[in-house]
């Protein structure tokens, strides 16, 4: 595949609307997925992710709007259109019969001759890590094996677009982590264009090039992975991503690609191309924020941003603690190890300094965001 075709959007949806019993469940003005990339569709339960995926997969008809593949409109009624896509669900939904029969299902529907069928089934089972499983009864597989067989069943028909609906959400954490990595590797290896629905950011990080976040049926953010995940434009998106609401400010100076932002009494520094005078939103991921004691001498480092404030909230986040530092009406969250919290003697009300690098600080235009 040449660099040129890679950049072209292969899958496009426009003007999609879907209501259930009079309630608008989905309203997507535009969605584009570039060829050979993985697009993660993030959102909490009931956000409309699965509905959108089923519409893209031609399994559900929208009330309005259309889905285009390579610039040509697809129809749910047209089986040939459907054959260019393949979908994977939360559970493997393996059919009665052997693993081989399951994987061969789509090839039979495409009237591939038996000899080629067997060869392709064997090859794809190898690729998903189930070599020699063709003769096994499909219902004797474990959860992870089942989902791999389901992936093989979808990949074997060489779909132009692969649609995955939370394929690993039923796995236990250990298996999930391993399979997420493996799935990401397989998808990259196949070079297949993928739309991957998940509510799990870590999964999105592992598989995606591009991300869209759905909230109540509408996109609240979309774009390259690192941009979307680090620069939320609204309070809801920020809290969904585990961040504090973005800080509003104005660019007052620029120096060597680094913009100086005035936000209330504080001065913040981050990478930005926006001109001086722009109204902006500033955000930083909790992983990038370090806390220091108020009295401590902060070592000289590249952490240009230093915000003095009070600890207003401490709550567990996995093995870490998520500490919120507030000053006036702005706040920053920091992920701190339990040991560090006890060493710093942090409790609610403790004065601290939150420090973070300019490189980790995202500055986006506040225009268009209420």
């Amino acid at each position: 595949m040449s660099a040129e075709t890679r950049a072209a959007p292969i899958l496009r949806a426009e003007g999609i609307r879907k209501s259930y019993r009079g309630r608008l469940a989905l309203e997507v003005t535009e969605l584009e997925v570039e060829a050979g990339t993985t697009y993660a569709l993030l959102g909490s339960s009931g956000a409309g992710k699965s509905t959108l995926l089923r519409i893209l997969g031609l399994l559900e008809r929208p009330d309005a709007g259309r889905v285009l593949l390579d610039g040509r409109e697809l129809s749910a009624r047209d089986r040939r259109s459907r054959m260019r896509l393949a979908m994977l669900f939360q559970k493997p939904y393996l059919f009665r019969g052997t693993v081989g029969e399951n994987v061969a299902y789509g090839l039979k529907a495409r009237r591939v001759n038996p000899r080629e069928r067997d060869a392709r089934v064997a090859a794809v089972l190898e690729r998903v890590g189930l070599p020699g499983f063709a003769g096994r009864d499909a219902r004797t597989l474990s959860g992870g094996e089942g989902q791999r067989a389901a992936l093989a069943r979808a990949l074997v028909v060489t779909p132009e677009v692969l649609l995955l609906d939370e394929p690993l959400s039923y796995m236990d954490p250990l298996n999930k982590e391993r399979l997420t990595r493996e799935f990401a590797e397989i998808l990259r290896g196949e070079g297949v264009t993928t739309v991957y629905v998940t509510h799990d950011q870590e999964e999105a990080y592992a598989v995606a090039d591009t991300v869209g976040i759905l909230h109540e049926g509408r996109f609240v953010a979309s774009g390259p992975l690192d941009q979307v995940m680090t620069a939320p434009s609204s309070t809801w998106t920020a809290s969904f991503l585990g961040m504090e609401p973005p800080v509003r400010g104005r660019i007052v100076g620029r120096d060597d690609g680094v913009a100086e932002v005035e936000a209330g009494e504080a001065r913040l520094y981050g990478i930005s191309d926006l001109p001086v005078g722009s109204q902006v939103l500033v955000s930083v991921r909790p992983e990038d924020v370090t806390l220091f004691s108020d009295t401590e001498e902060i070592p000289h480092s590249s952490a240009r941003n230093r915000v003095r404030g009070l600890v207003t909230d401490i709550r567990p986040k996995g093995a870490m603690l998520r500490v919120v530092v507030s000053r006036d009406d702005t706040s920053f969250a920091s992920l701190v190890s339990r040991a560090a919290v006890s060493e710093l003697g942090i409790a609610e009300g403790t004065p601290v300094v939150a420090a973070f690098k300019a490189a980790a600080t995202r500055i986006t235009s506040a225009e268009g965001h209420a």
Partner: protein, 238 residues
């Protein structure tokens, strides 16, 4: 007590000797009810599939009405079916021109009407238990409507088998409809159930009991086959 004992001896003798009248009755029963069940499957399984997949997906009014009809049909008294089929096939009825009244064809027709709702109703419940995603998965892999339907029926095959057995059991054991539309004509439309009534009334208790045992044996065989198939299925799923 001695009457029953001597009747049972009579039954054994009849069966062992291969009494031609008895065998004719048995084969006609099996023929009429098998054909009726087969036709009932051709109508009832697609209907059950549509009902089982539509109701849970769409809740359409028409589907609900058909479900209501099917459910009522599952408890339809054979005598009532017999009455309406007799009226329809009678010389002045809408289907009188076919000249089917008091023929095996009329009996098949009546039994199809009894078997179809049973097969449709039970298979609809079985099909409805197959997850929607499984059908969507098949569709997404390129299955056409027919392939998707066949796959779903195969996934629900335990329940589909029960549906077929319910249909067959409903018609092989009914008497009201075959009596009315067939007329219980000896050597032509007399089946096991009507023969049991006739023989008992005539005092030939031995013949009646012989036929009763055969009917019971048949039920046992059919249910045994079903249980075995379902057991196979269960073992396979493990």
């Amino acid at each position: 007590m001695s009457i029953i004992w001597s009747s049972m001896q009579e039954a054994g003798r009849l069966l062992a000797n291969g009494d031609p009248v008895v065998w004719q009755i048995i084969t006609l029963s099996l023929r009429v009810s098998s054909v009726a069940t087969a036709i009932g499957m051709l109508i009832g399984l697609p209907l059950g599939y549509v009902l089982g997949t539509t109701v849970f997906a769409g809740r359409r009014v028409i589907a609900l009405l058909v479900i209501l009809l099917v459910n009522t049909g599952m408890g339809l008294p054979p005598v009532v079916v017999g009455l309406f089929v007799t009226l329809a096939l009678s010389r002045s009825g809408p289907l009188g021109f076919m000249g089917w009244l008091f023929t095996p064809q009329a009996m098949v027709l009546a039994q199809v009407i009894i078997a179809t709702p049973l097969i449709a109703g039970v298979s609809a419940a079985a099909v409805g238990a197959v997850p929607e995603e499984l059908r969507l998965q098949a569709r997404s892999l390129g299955a056409g409507r027919l392939a998707e339907g066949l796959l779903t029926l195969n996934e629900a095959r335990g329940g589909v088998l029960s549906a077929i057995v319910a249909g067959f059991g409903g018609v092989i054991s009914e008497i009201g409809a075959v009596m009315m539309v067939g007329g219980n004509i000896e050597g032509y439309t007399r089946v096991m159930t009507t023969a049991i009534v006739t023989e008992t009334r005539m005092g030939n208790t031995g013949n009646a009991i012989a036929l009763a045992f055969i009917l019971l044996g048949l039920a046992l065989a059919v249910n045994g086959l079903l249980t075995w198939l379902q057991h196979m299925g269960a073992a396979y799923e493990r």
